[in-house]
Subunit: 505 residues, 2 copies
Amino acid sequence: MKLTTEIIDVDTGGVLKILLNPVDITHLAMFAGERVLIKYNNQETVAIAESTSLVNQGKVGILNEVQRELDVKEGQDVEVLSDVKTTSVLAIRKKMDGLPLTGEEIQAIVEDLVSGRLSDIDVAAFLVSEQILGMSLEETVHLTRAIAEEGEQMDFGGNVFDKHSIGGVPGNKVSLLIVPIVAAAGLLIPKTSSRAITSPSGTADTMEVLADVEFNVEELQKIVNKAKAAIVWGGSLNLAPADDLFIRVEHPLLIDPRPQMIASIMAKKLSTGIQHLVLDIPTGQGCKVTTMEEARKLSHDFITVGNELGVNVHCAMTYGSQPVGHAIGPALEAKEALETLMGGGPTSLIEKSTGLSGILLEMGGLAARGAGRKLAKEILTSGKALKKMREIIGAQNGNPNIEPEQIPIGEHTFDLLAPSDGYVATLSNRALVRIARAAGTPKLHGAGLYLHAKVGSRVKEGDAVLTVYAETEGKLSDAINVAKNLMPFTVEGMLLHTLTDTEQF
Amino acid sequence: MKLTTEIIDVDTGGVLKILLNPVDITHLAMFAGERVLIKYNNQETVAIAESTSLVNQGKVGILNEVQRELDVKEGQDVEVLSDVKTTSVLAIRKKMDGLPLTGEEIQAIVEDLVSGRLSDIDVAAFLVSEQILGMSLEETVHLTRAIAEEGEQMDFGGNVFDKHSIGGVPGNKVSLLIVPIVAAAGLLIPKTSSRAITSPSGTADTMEVLADVEFNVEELQKIVNKAKAAIVWGGSLNLAPADDLFIRVEHPLLIDPRPQMIASIMAKKLSTGIQHLVLDIPTGQGCKVTTMEEARKLSHDFITVGNELGVNVHCAMTYGSQPVGHAIGPALEAKEALETLMGGGPTSLIEKSTGLSGILLEMGGLAARGAGRKLAKEILTSGKALKKMREIIGAQNGNPNIEPEQIPIGEHTFDLLAPSDGYVATLSNRALVRIARAAGTPKLHGAGLYLHAKVGSRVKEGDAVLTVYAETEGKLSDAINVAKNLMPFTVEGMLLHTLTDTEQF
């Protein structure tokens, strides 16, 4: 169908979109939201056509992305064709039929996603098929490569080491210890990390309390050249633009397909030129992975995909049913990490951090097999890790001499008390996360929780089991309301009818 | 989060949508395109939040649908909450896990779809799950009821009969014969039919050549009171608004999940208060259903679902690998149907129409089992069916005295010739459909195809196997181009390297 362009100066967030009159949509034998092919001047592009009576019959509303793609002006004649079956859409259809996809097909899906040629409908269909039918490891390798190829590639000129957690456990500030321990031993560890999406604090949020975390690729190269290490936000590096587009659709569907998780993590690591990765898989009630069997299967998949991509992966299943350490929330976690680097800190944090660091030291040939943890502890207690951390903070424009007590914590607090004498029987990760979010994390860095007791701790009636911190009275009261609905802990012997959190999920 | 309203006078096609600044989206720990809950003045509604920097931080852009729902004005304070897990979204998640849905859950999905509370992502996830995992017949019954309940209900005050085809065969104008035959026998048959979406002509498009087809429920009641029958477009009756919304997402994904097909057909029939339905299942190469086994399974499902809903369903598997009759396209089909009612017409059309009519006559107790077809033929040859058809045409504002030669057919024609002597070995439904669409069907009523020979016909080199009709020279040349790419027939003995149509699909 021949139509005349009408330039509409609106951005569509990277998606190639045009607007058509509903009557023209019918004449094209298509539905609003479907793909069309637009031809102009020996150029052509695929775009999603939306329906609106704001555009007259015979016209096509050209939004900014398509305008740039075709370099077309107002009042030009273009040809618009419907019934466009692209490789990516046919591949998604094939996946629904349970047939394995080739590398080319997966690449077409990822490329079309990043270049704005897939609609929400297409992306949802791909992810739901993957959630229901899974993917072979071969497909997962293709997916990882395709995601990595769409993003920035870095080269730090040496063997790159890294640590990653699949997430799901609050208070997991171990990267702020592992990176300096491993770097102090001489290994190159340019850690790119995420901000919290639904958790109280991502590693990038926690680090941001101490230093800047948003850098481009060149700036990151300079930091790593100086400190041999970094802890930055991966989001500003554009390592895996496809990944964000996938997550945007996974999130409202409440799904996290395993192959997508593996590809997402491995693609971002590939972009940093990694050779050795230790992967933390928190396992247990309330984690993403609940059983050891599931954790072993996932580890196997990560290791196999890693091998195919030339990355040496070591998986560590860690106990994840309660928070790591005592502090939850950006500032409280940064403070606890710094205190631990200075020789204090809780045992669970020290053990987990040195355990994972030890594996990296062994992978790097700096310790014999089984001797890594001991070396990591020596580096921590010797103060070398603290010195390295101050170097990293300085390289990232922070105050290298910062002391824990200089970190601002929310001034509005509330204690949740033990209702009876006894031992803490359970702590609910999900409830703790929701209370911390209500208090303002991760946006308000000073908000969070501090656990005075953990599972197995003996408490007396009236003891504070945890303290809620907020930056404002309003946020504190929001958090208290959530806490009252979702009792985040149980003390052995307390009345169980107060345990309403299971009803909420 | 408290935000201030900014009324934006834009319709969103029935979907409840608001606009938020990207920064506020991040603060709400959500993604663009996700659901939020908006509270205002003791009222609340769920809506999809889109991201745009056209709305400032601290503001919420209220589009028309949400404005009406909340009755909110410019500059008001509203509360916007993220992480909204509605029954429908949790049910879609449950379906992905392979768990059966309850009637309440399916109802929630259909209600939220119709009231604009589901995003494209949600609808795609539901349909893809259904496509991959199927649905139990119990779920299909719930789905049918839910779709019917969201639409208009009619009561024609008597036993209602109907005929329906699952579609997929071009030239299938049998309804224009069956309705008058059955009505002439005294049965009530208010046929609601569809317009073509991807085919050359739907029953409503074909009937539109002879009479009006767009009526509301009251007008349809009057027509049926007068003629005891009707052939109208279902789309203007709002029988199943949910169905259109599902199809809008199925179409770009190239899927047609069986439970959805059953529910879609049965819901629209339920809305007309039907008791007896004969269902045409065209079977064979190039049809929606390719094997007898598949056809039997589908028949069983239709009959079972019908029983549960109080509808007596009789399924008839018909040969569907080549067009019914010779004519394809609205005007050509209407002309062929009228000629057949007047005593002419092709055998395949007469046989199929009287066969299906006979079943309805038997269901209505007007003929003994096995004697229905004979009675139907008598009604057809006696001229009673023609008289009834003219009555229906008149009741629907058409010219009751129209003669076949008064029907305008496209004046631009092109003959596709047999390349050699022999028998016609194959006719490709798909290729014929694409040629007819290129010629301008269904929009241009006079466009279409006429088959001079069908499978098994003897042709000589240079004989016209089919003629293409178009209303303009341009459309004719489009159709010829498509025909040259997709050779729509083969003559036994012709060179098979010209057979490129299989490569196109």
